[in-house]
Amino acid sequence: MDLKSHISVKNLNVYYGAEHALKNINIDIPDRRITAIIGPSGCGKSTLLKSFNRLVDSIEGVKVTGEVSVDGENIYGPDVEITHIRKKMGLLSQRPFPLPMSIYDNVAYGPRIHGTKNRKVLDETVEKYLKIAHLWDEVKNRLNKPASKLSIGQQQRLCLARGLAVEPEIILGDEPTSALDPKSSRAIEERFMELKNDYTIVIVTHILRQAKRLADYVVFLYLGELIEHGPAREIFENPKEEMTKEYIKGIIS
């Protein structure tokens, strides 16, 4: 498989104070594919994901060295506009976090802070992305109701629509289905499958079956080290490293 890289990580190290959470990571995340980051709990999956949009360095005592390039631009470089980098990426967290406002305002928040004021344009944007997230039919009659009143599964789809509304190129998901019921999880997975033609998607997951279902590319971390990465089929069917084999068989977890 010949893959164009979208996010390129070079010699990335992340320290939480004295704790060396990511050790010299080098990977290329392929463009317009679904990449799954797998590995046991505490191995640094979330840290790696958050270093893609620089949410890690908002914590006191965190030190980051190395490079992460998005579209060829090092986001840890001295004069990067951080809001500009973040606008390129939508984030789905483990538990959905709607903003404390109405359903409509949640989706419109991103476009508004980036300067869209025209009500008609906003209406169209909100409708478009709620439809892409397959939430429109369920909420079209109560767009001005609080987002907190939606079910958890609906909230996660709302968060997806909200992230897409800033027109990112990349979608990051940190175990985006782990708080959801099976039906809602499937809904999110289906959206990812639809979206992967247009977006680069990176998800962290604990669920190997989910990684098998979704991923084109797999990154396996263990205790902060990158053990193996490659096309999903190779990793699952023919892993090179002993550790990967054991993890996939469920011996280490």
Partner: protein
């Protein structure tokens, strides 16, 4: 098994006892000011300023103190709020998470809120003397604002601390700046807590006597200018209680009753507003 049950019962008993003790104290205070003050309460009390001989039991009312206290407490609460919000947003949004500097600021604010109000009053007074100023509404507002600032700041800060980091992260990940995240997202989430903090501070501001004693002075006329002294309810209570005339003493309790009713009314209004703010809150 039995032991655990006894333990449970002991603690339950203690909780009930302390609740009752607090309820009893509150009840007794309310009953005292009501019984002693209700007979002196009249329309004149709340619509008139003191007339000649008011302090000897003749006609007039305490409108000067009611108005003065409302002006003073509103002004001080507003000023303190304007000082608190930037500090709180700085500590919770601009500073890095778990920053040592922020812990230090919190520590100093906690010390400040432990300082007795007479010290703030004396401090204000000495500054006043130094600058050659006279007691006035403005100085009263500034002193009381400084008195309630640490309380308000920490109350709002605690609300912000309770907001999960993820909510801020959501906003950042959409490309929002710290300013947008702080004022468009986190403030909304904190709204009910902020309104409670404002109310608490207002209660403290309107009830404090020691700070205003030297800085706001006292007068029999209605507040007219920021630069003139004003009357306040706690001092009205204090002065009236200090006279030997029985009628005036009764009026002191009536004044206390009015003060209590104002604070109560504001709590009820704030509760009501609070409910309006909670609709969008993420739990």
């Amino acid at each position: 098994m039995d032991l655990r049950k006894t333990e449970e019962n002991i603690f339950k008993g203690l909780m009930i006892a302390s609740t009752l003790a607090i309820a009893l104290c509150t009840g007794l205070i309310l009953v005292t000011i009501f019984v002693k003050g209700f007979s002196a309460l009249s329309i004149d009390m709340i619509t008139q300023t003191p007339k000649g001989g008011f302090y000897l039991g003749k006609e007039g009312g305490i409108l000067n103190a009611i108005a003065g206290s409302l002006y003073l407490a509103s002004g001080a609460t507003f000023l303190s709020f304007c000082m608190s919000m930037p500090v709180v947003v700085y500590m919770n949004v601009y500073a890095k998470r778990n920053s040592g500097f922020v812990s230090l600021v919190r520590f100093f604010l906690d010390i400040m809120s432990g300082i007795p109000s007479i010290v703030y009053g004396a401090f204000g007074f000495s500054i006043m003397l130094l600058l050659g100023l006279r007691a006035s509404l403005l100085l009263g507002i500034i002193s009381v604002a400084i008195l309630i600032f640490p309380l308000m700041c920490r109350a709002i800060d605690e609300i912000f601390k309770m907001i999960p980091d993820e909510l801020g992260d959501v906003s950042y990940s959409l490309g929002a700046t710290k300013f947008e995240t702080g004022f468009k997202v986190l403030v909304r989430q904190a709204m009910p807590g902020i309104s409670t903090a404002i109310l608490l501070s207002f209660g403290r501001a309107i009830g404090d006597a020691a700070t205003v004693l030297f800085t706001a002075g006292f007068t029999d006329s209605l507040p007219g200018s920021l630069l003139r002294p004003i009357a306040t309810l706690p001092l009205a209570v204090f002065f009236q209680l200090g006279t030997p005339v029985a009628e005036v003493k009764e009026r002191a309790y009536a004044s206390a009753l009015i003060l209590t009713i104002i604070v109560l009314a504001i709590s009820i209004i704030a509760r009501f507003l609070c409910r309006k703010f909670t609709v969008h809150i993420i739990k």
